[in-house]
């Protein structure tokens, strides 16, 4: 009886898992060995899609490498800066005073906004001639970069935009900080530890499970950036912001190369999986599990 009731309760998920999970997951794998433009019949091409992307020199392999390099570059700036920013603000705000709530709200506010509206706002802030940022720099006689119109500055600009939403991870760090037992600091005080040493030897180790959690999430999210690049630059200038998922989207829904897009998706899946496994391996060296891992 309980068996049947159990399955009834989870039946929505089972249906969803089969229909929108397992089935697309497996068929995307099969499709990655096919050529399909939706109109003409599917054609089995073996490893051809993968060969075009990974081995054979050509437009596909060039765009793959360009999009992967862009994504890794973006990720390598956005993830560490986001973590440093989030932890720093959390440390600043981790005080009992009531006024801290006001600051917490202000710093968190940008994180509740997202999507096209935010992308449009930042495209305008970064406007080379009349945007707020370059207007500000011009007051001091500095001629700012062309940001989104410049191959060099487009990705840093998107990183800055991402940092505006750092409040999201700040809240997670704040929760982590508040769960550190007070007696650890009392012991450190008795030992005469300075504020800096307390940070290095108490706060950061105790916060490391939280840091690990946001690191994994941050890397995965940064590999999937889409909206800003699509709305603000459409991958330009000169493919400077062609991110991995943007390349995948163009192949699937603008060039209708469904098989090629599936091969790209599976390569992305493997990359994310390997990166995550490496993180878990490395975690043993620096994540301190005296406290429990908060999920």
């Amino acid at each position: 009886m309980e068996n049947l009731a159990g399955y009834l309760f989870i039946s929505p998920w089972i249906i969803g898992f089969l229909l929108f999970g397992l089935f697309p997951f497996l068929s995307s794998f099969l499709l990655s060995f096919c050529r399909w433009d939706i109109i003409t019949p599917t054609q089995f091409v073996g490893l051809d899609n993968y060969a075009r992307i990974l081995v054979r020199e050509g437009i596909d392999s060039r765009l793959f490498r360009k999009s992967l390099t862009n994504t890794v570059y973006y990720s390598s700036l956005a993830v560490p800066l986001g973590m440093i920013g989030g932890i720093s603000i959390a440390l600043l705000l981790n005080k009992p005073q009531r006024i801290m709530r006001v600051f917490r709200t202000i710093y968190y506010l940008p994180a509740v906004t997202s999507g096209v509206a935010v992308a449009l706002l930042w495209a305008w802030l970064f406007n080379a001639d009349f945007g707020l940022i370059n207007s500000f720099l011009r007051k001091f006689g500095i001629i700012g970069p062309a940001w989104l119109e410049s191959q060099e500055w487009a990705i840093p600009a998107l990183v800055i935009m991402g940092l505006w939403g750092v409040g999201g991870s700040m809240v997670i760090y704040l929760a982590g900080l508040q769960s550190i037992p007070k007696h650890l600091y009392e012991v450190a005080d008795i030992d005469g530890a300075s504020g800096f040493r307390k940070l290095i030897h108490v706060t950061l180790p105790m916060l490391s499970p939280t840091i690990f959690f946001t690191l994994i999430g941050g890397i995965i999210a940064s590999f999937q950036v889409f909206v800003p690049a699509y709305v603000m630059t459409r991958g330009g200038p000169g493919n400077a912001t062609l991110f991995y998922v943007l390349n995948l989207y163009f192949n699937a829904f603008e060039y209708f190369r469904m098989g090629h897009a599936c091969a790209l998706a599976w390569i992305l899946f493997v990359i994310i999986l390997v990166l995550t496994l490496i993180q878990f391996k490395l975690a043993k060296r620096w994540v301190y599990y005296a406290g429990e891992l908060r999920t």
């Binding site: 009731a5 229909l19 096209v116 935010v118 706002l121 707020l132 998706a265």
Partner: protein, 283 residues
């Protein structure tokens, strides 16, 4: 004894700390202010140097003109339908599934729950193409169904996980009492558990709202006809149809679409922050 020098140093540190806090807050608020300021400017005022931060006089008409430049009322209606039905579907089915995993003992439960968690690891892009093909075969492309129906299948792995964890913290005594009184499993779910998990449900509803309200990729893939488009697609169309100097309209329309998110944040801040801290979701 603290010497005068350390006292001065401490006071100085305190002032520096407050200045950093205020400076940071100003920096985080400036983009919003710039958005509001631009949205109230006269057509020619946006592209001038130095920029005028307080438009004089403020042009409130921009909001009405931006909203009516495209059928935004229709986009709003469509977005409300998709978002509203998704919230209903996700909260109801995620809570049912979470209850099943938290309270009932059935064959293969742990393996299936690991499957729930495993789906969180697969990037959406992997299943994106076959999903599109499935919905195309069903004839659902250019309808709201591909954006709504998956929500009725357990919501999302994250919501199931969150609600299951929450239900597990509720003691079993009430369940047992209800069972003795002849309450079935569904009765326990609807009368005992549901009232107790309201905070977690609110949290799920809020995140569901945020993700559907702001969703761009889903509508971009599935909705083609003008009459089906959502607010985020509408903003994108507005961006493409505007000439370079019509920034005031673009910002006015953007503010209008962000307002519900900000309003919900202010009214439900408690659930928001506890929910983010609980699950680590950011957007």
């Amino acid at each position: 004894m603290t010497s005068l020098r350390t006292l001065v140093a401490r006071r100085f540190g305190m002032i520096a700390y407050v200045l950093v806090l205020i400076g940071g807050a100003v920096l985080f608020l400036l983009p919003f202010l710039w958005m509001v300021s631009t949205s109230l400017k006269e057509p020619g005022q946006t592209h001038v140097f130095p920029p005028q931060l307080i438009p004089h006089p403020p042009r409130w008409r921009n909001y009405l003109e931006a909203w009516t430049a495209l059928p935004f009322n229709l986009y709003l209606r469509n977005t409300l339908i998709i978002t509203g039905l998704s919230i209903v579907g996700q909260t109801i089915t995620a809570s049912l599934v979470a209850f099943g995993f938290a309270r009932l003992r059935f064959w293969g439960r742990n393996v299936l729950f690991i499957c729930v968690l495993a789906t969180m690891m697969v990037p959406a892009q992997v299943t994106m193409v076959p999903m599109f093909l499935v919905f195309k075969a069903l004839g659902w492309v250019d309808t709201f169904l591909p954006l709504i129906v998956p929500g009725f299948c357990g919501g999302s792995a994250l919501f199931i996980f969150l609600l299951r964890q929450y239900i597990m913290t509720i003691p079993h005594e009430l369940d047992d009492a209800a069972k003795i009184d002849g309450c079935g499993w569904f009765g326990i779910y609807s009368r005992i558990i549901m009232p107790q998990i309201k905070p977690a449900l609110s949290c799920v509803a809020i995140f569901s709202f945020m993700s559907h309200w702001n969703d761009f990729m889903g509508p971009l893939i599935y909705l083609n006809s003008e009459t089906k488009k959502t607010l985020s697609l509408g903003l994108r169309i507005l961006q493409q149809s505007m000439v370079y100097t019509e920034m005031h309209y673009l910002m006015a329309a953007s503010i209008l679409t962000l307002l519900p998110c900000l309003a919900i944040f202010f009214f439900a801040q408690r659930y928001f922050i506890s929910g983010v801290a609980l699950t680590g979701i950011k957007e």
